[in-house]
Symmetry: C2
Subunit: 327 residues, 2 copies
């Protein structure tokens, strides 16, 4: 079985070869932002998960490589468009595509990436390709729905925890679950197992997004790749803020609301003040508990999968690694 | 065999039923612009062509209905995004989606439409669905390439006729050709016939786009649905302008270049002056000749298709109707 590092190498090699192919295309303007976006690197989490799951059921996983690249390209497509909508300027320590090129380019090259992901997916030779393509399409729509909820929440005063969790499920968890399930389907796993893998992925994805929220406030800028405190500055209704508003005493709540209402402020001062209140209410610990809940649920589902223990090790190790907040 | 009117009714009925389904979705914000865009109507040219071609080979064409709706939704997705990039304010006598809703909504709901088109396409039950999905994906990429060329040309002084024709082939003709070929494949036409149908579609699409260019300057605002003269105001390098610059005498060329260089002008005055020069150089007639050339090529290809004459009648009639500039 392949290690995470080996899978990542496989994926990066394939992306490099494929980017080289893009270079040969006549329409260079359209594909330059695609190359730029994919060249920024990143964790390659989704394609790694896809191949890792395929590898649970079969030794040879090269038939899944184009599908793995497809989910990575799809994910990057969503980043291009989300970054326009969110007016984000930095991504992985680099200017976002619409800043580096233009908004029009980020729209159009993003569109091209969506279709490139289908093109690669359809290249994948396996018996369940039709089912995988259907799952991929349903997932893509759910991701759009999630992004719309995210934008809707910006204009709303009150967002409940349940609404927030549903939003991140759609925006983040379903694509992680889809990547995992596609890997299982590529290796022709039976339907029941594929379903369990999907549910495992939803829980993993929830934990992953909550961890991302946590890092946005309590992370390290260099490893996180974005400016710390961005969510606080933008009044993003993350789990941290929703939980804080729910658990705050009268004084803390009025302080929080004062900062949320301010239109003219020094960003660093706001980050310091709001994260100070978060600290008073133990928000870091509360969020970590929620993350652990999802990791625990994922582990439980993994136990139900009928497979030799050693074949489940990569996914188990992944959870352990993520619990250690090192991934 | 069905008439164009009957096909259009079938399509509109299916779109209405499907829009009603969208209405039931929980995420209303995302789908409202989709309903709005599809509710504006339009000629439904692409789905009509798809079903018309399917009908050349079989009587029963209902298995192609979701594929027909898919190409219409895909076409509308491109309009949503193109209208943002072109800063277009009106479409089919209505505000464009990004004007009526917002740019973010036009981006995201446009994305959703791209995936909705795959969702509908994948619902279509036919033996060649995989080939159709591949063709659809290749076509989508070509359409993006065409739109990129269109934007590139805006910033270039000299665009040749050949470059312009390649651009409209990618931006417009390939989707028309894809719709026609998909119809043939749905009805399980043999590969050689499907290829001829595709080539027919390219020629039809070229004629169609050149006619659209012509109408933008010489059409009637009410039936055209957009403001007449928009291309002139925006210095769009259409066939009309490229041909005019090529055929103009020294005085006409310097007049044209003067208007192209002006940044501060009265739009109506510019439209009047530039179309005046077009008239001096017989641009309307020259463009009509080019359109007829493509219609003639389409007719020739149609003759090569091995099929009873009466089954080719709908496509023949369509050409006749378009030649009469009434479609």
């Amino acid at each position: 079985m392949y290690s995470v590092e080996e899978l990542k190498q496989k994926i990066n090699k394939e992306i490099d070869a494929w980017s080289e192919e893009l270079n040969q295309k006549e329409q260079k303007e359209l594909y330059a932002p695609v190359k730029y976006a994919l060249g920024m690197g990143g964790k390659r989490l989704r394609p790694v998960l896809l191949l890792m799951t395929a590898n649970m059921f079969q030794e040879e996983i090269d038939n899944g490589l184009t599908a793995a690249i497809a989910v990575e390209i799809f994910h990057n497509f969503t980043l291009l468009h989300d970054d326009i909508m969110d007016k984000a300027e930095m991504r992985r320590n680099n200017p976002t595509v619409h800043k580096k090129f233009s908004e029009n380019k980020a729209i159009l090259s993003g569109d091209a990436m969506a279709f490139l992901s289908y093109k690669l997916l359809l290249k994948c030779r396996c018996e369940k390709l039709f089912e995988i393509t259907q799952l991929f399409t349903e997932t893509a729509l759910e991701v759009c729905e999630g992004q719309q909820y995210d934008m809707d929440f910006e204009n709303r005063q009150n967002v409940t925890q349940a609404e927030y969790l549903e939003m991140i499920k759609l925006k983040t968890a379903v694509l992680i679950a889809c990547s995992l399930k596609a890997g299982a389907q590529l290796s022709d796993a039976d339907d029941e197992t594929a379903k369990l893998i999907y549910d495992f992925g939803i829980n993993l994805g929830m934990a992953f997004q909550l961890q991302d929220d946590l890092l946005d406030t309590f992370g390290n800028q260099q490893t996180f790749g974005k400016k710390i405190g961005g969510d606080i500055v933008a009044n993003k209704k993350t789990f941290l803020l929703i939980e804080a508003l729910e658990k705050a005493n009268t004084e803390q709540k009025s302080q929080l609301k004062k900062w949320l209402a301010k239109t003219d402020f020094n960003p660093d001062e706001k980050i310091k003040a709001v994260s100070g209140i978060f600290n008073q209410i133990n928000i870091k610990k509360r969020t970590e508990e929620k993350i652990d809940f999802y990791f625990f649920s994922a582990s439980e589902i993994l136990q139900k999968i009928q497979l030799e223990e050693k074949r489940k090790m990569p996914l188990k190790n992944l959870i352990q690694k993520m619990l250690g907040r090192k991934f």
